[in-house]
């Protein structure tokens, strides 16, 4: 059994948020009296991650996911509690830890915008103190793996989001990190680009045994990648178990929206519950443990003149609400 390489004990992060009253007089009053609200972004969090694990760390907006990652990487100082990553205390040994971890913050670029990715890679090779031969060998391997050979000499600003994201991930892997923190790596990507990113993440974990700590809003990322899922809400862990259990218990529903050329009348599919209906559109919540999406689509195609179909996962807030309901029942 592998040993924990991330250990978090009773971790807390509290932000002081200045409260401002609205309006002219409110603004004037603020000049003389300041009122602060405490926001507990992370609240008594304890968990550990073993070497080689691929953990999904999920939750709604403001749940504390990114704050946790930033404390694990040493960017933010914890208010209290302890963090140990690869034996380092991240907030005290940030620079030493940085040699052994990689990170991708999906919404923030790390490549130099006006230069081709090759220039950023060359820079990172020097920043991470890589030997020239090791760097060239590693870059060659990653370029093939991520299929970015034709993008290396194109300015980053001219790349599509999907291309850029592949290049961003390569930048995080050049120094062979032992742990990679991926904060919403598939955000804003189309289906094909998402699939490509997921495949390479999986390969990295399986072939190179890199520990991956992934946050995402996309249930698809979790379903296809993570063996373990940790759900966080209001800074606390509300679920921590294997992903199969998470899927069967909480992501067993799909939202299917059907748009027809003719008015939709008498829509009857017992395994699905209609949650929204207009003349030409119907939105069904399908219980995938009772019926497949295929059967629902067969029924729709046979009975209506379909113009468009959208399939999506229930929002994270709904999954959290279900977790709370389940826990209350237990």
């Amino acid at each position: 059994m592998s040993s924990p390489i991330i250990e978090v004990q009773n971790l807390r992060k509290t932000f002081q948020l200045k409260q401002k009253q609205a309006g002219f007089f409110g603004g004037f009053k603020n000049l003389f009296s300041s009122h602060y609200k405490q926001a507990h972004a992370v609240d008594d969090l304890s968990f550990s991650v073993n070497e080689g694990e691929l953990v999904a760390f999920i939750g709604p907006n403001g749940a504390g996911k990114s704050t946790t990652i930033k404390m694990l990487t040493g960017i933010l100082f914890p208010t209290s509690g302890s963090v140990n990553v690869l034996g380092f205390n991240p907030s005290k040994q940030r620079q030493q830890l940085a040699f052994h971890i990689g990170s991708v913050f999906g919404q923030k670029p790390q490549l130099w915008y006006h230069l081709p990715p090759q220039d950023t890679y060359d820079l990172f090779a020097r920043i991470y103190e890589l030997k020239e031969e090791d760097y060239q060998e590693r870059l060659k391997y990653l370029v093939e793996m991520f299929e970015i050979g034709d993008l290396l000499n194109t300015q980053v600003r001219k790349l599509s989001l999907g291309q850029r994201m592949r290049c961003e991930i390569v930048a995080s892997l050049l120094h062979r990190p032992k742990i990679i923190f991926l904060d919403e790596p598939t955000i804003g990507l189309d289906v094909i680009a998402k699939q490509t990113i997921r495949e390479v993440i999986k390969t990295l974990n399986e072939k190179e045994k890199v520990t991956i700590f992934l946050t995402s809003h996309d249930a698809g990322d979790i379903e296809s990648l993570a063996k373990r899922t940790v759900v966080i809400n209001h800074g606390k862990i509300v679920f921590d178990d294997n992903t199969e259990k998470f899927k069967s218990t909480y992501i067993n529903k799909k939202l299917v929206e059907i748009i027809s050329a003719d008015p939709i009348k008498n829509f009857r599919f017992p395994q699905g519950q209609i949650i929204e209906k207009t003349t030409y559109q119907v939105k069904i919540e399908l219980d995938t443990s009772k019926s497949s999406i295929e059967k629902l689509l067969e029924y729709a195609v046979e009975n209506f003149q379909i113009q468009d179909i959208n399939i999506s996962d229930p929002p994270m807030e709904e999954i959290i609400a279900t977790i709370y309901r389940e826990q209350a029942r237990e």
């Binding site: 990114s66 690869l86 034996g87 205390n89 040994q93 971890i101 990170s103 230069l115 920043i127």
Partner: protein, 280 residues
């Protein structure tokens, strides 16, 4: 740190340090020169100022009927101000603006997660950015100065010692700008501080009026302030070289550089605990 971490600790090496930070400066240089037309167009800005100085001080000297004021001829005044503007404009945008943008956009996360010193990253980034702009500004400004006011007596020691002061002038302005930028860790928006700083530089930095034309008392005070030591002091030394003047300016620069380095170090140590990365 436990035993597992001990085996991962990277030994410090001077060669790796040098390769790392020069790579940052090189990449910054490459970014600045990525759009050559923009670089050259920016270099026209000091040229416009030089034309204004020629009109303004030409009229002043004509009205006074003097060939020299406080030992400075019209050509010397315009050359000093022109070079000061060229040096000054090569330092823009200031690190304070970039640090504030990092704080606001949340990209600070990436700057803090790398195995380098945050301050030194910005310093070498600043030098790599300023160098090509300085070359472009310098060449175009000298050309315009020769065309509009003609030659003046420049000496090789004046240029060499002036460049030494200029290097420390850039380092001084970087360190004061770093302090202002680090204030963004607490207050997020540093535009008011930057405004006050820029006005101090405008008045006491010899940007529009040579300090040599100030009344003696004010000139002495202005020379002791850091603002004049960034770019005016190197320009003045290049135009009228005097080794004693160099020693005096170098001493003032050394004093302020020590003060600003200590303050910026303390600000960073304190500010890093206040960091709240925006956008998650």
């Amino acid at each position: 740190m436990n035993s597992a971490a001990n085996s991962l600790v990277r030994p410090r090496s001077l060669a790796a340090f040098w390769r790392k930070y020069t790579a940052i400066a090189q990449t910054s240089y490459a970014t600045t020169t990525a759009y050559l037309f923009n670089l050259l167009a920016s270099a026209l800005k000091p040229a416009i100022f030089i034309w204004i100085f020629v009109q303004l001080y030409g009229a002043t000297y004509k009205a006074s009927g003097l060939a020299e004021i406080n030992g400075l001829s019209l050509a010397m005044v315009v050359w000093t101000l022109g070079l000061t503007q060229a040096f000054h404009m090569a330092s823009r945008p200031l690190p304070a603006i970039l640090i504030e943008e990092e704080v606001k956009s949340g990209s600070l996360a990436y700057s803090l997660i790398r195995p380098y010193s945050y301050a030194l990253f910005h310093y070498f980034n600043f030098l790599g950015r300023a160098f090509p702009t300085l070359i472009a500004n310098g060449l175009i400004s000298v050309l315009v100065l020769l065309l509009l006011v003609g030659t003046i007596h420049l000496t090789i020691p004046g240029i060499v010692f002036g460049l030494v002061l200029l290097f420390f002038g850039y380092t001084m302005e970087f360190s004061i700008s770093l302090i202002i930028g680090l204030m963004a860790f607490w207050i997020e928006d540093t535009s008011a501080l930057r405004w006050i700083y820029s006005k101090g530089q405008l008045i006491f930095g010899g940007m529009i009026v040579p300090l040599a034309l100030f009344p003696e008392k004010i000139r002495n005070i202005a020379e002791l302030l850091p603002f004049s030591q960034f770019y005016y002091a190197p320009a003045q030394l290049m135009i009228s070289f005097d080794i004693k003047l160099f020693e005096r300016f170098a001493l003032i620069q050394f004093f302020w550089l020590t003060v600003f380095s200590i303050i910026s170090y303390l600000c960073y140590k304190k500010g890093i605990r206040h960091v709240a990365i925006n956008g998650g």
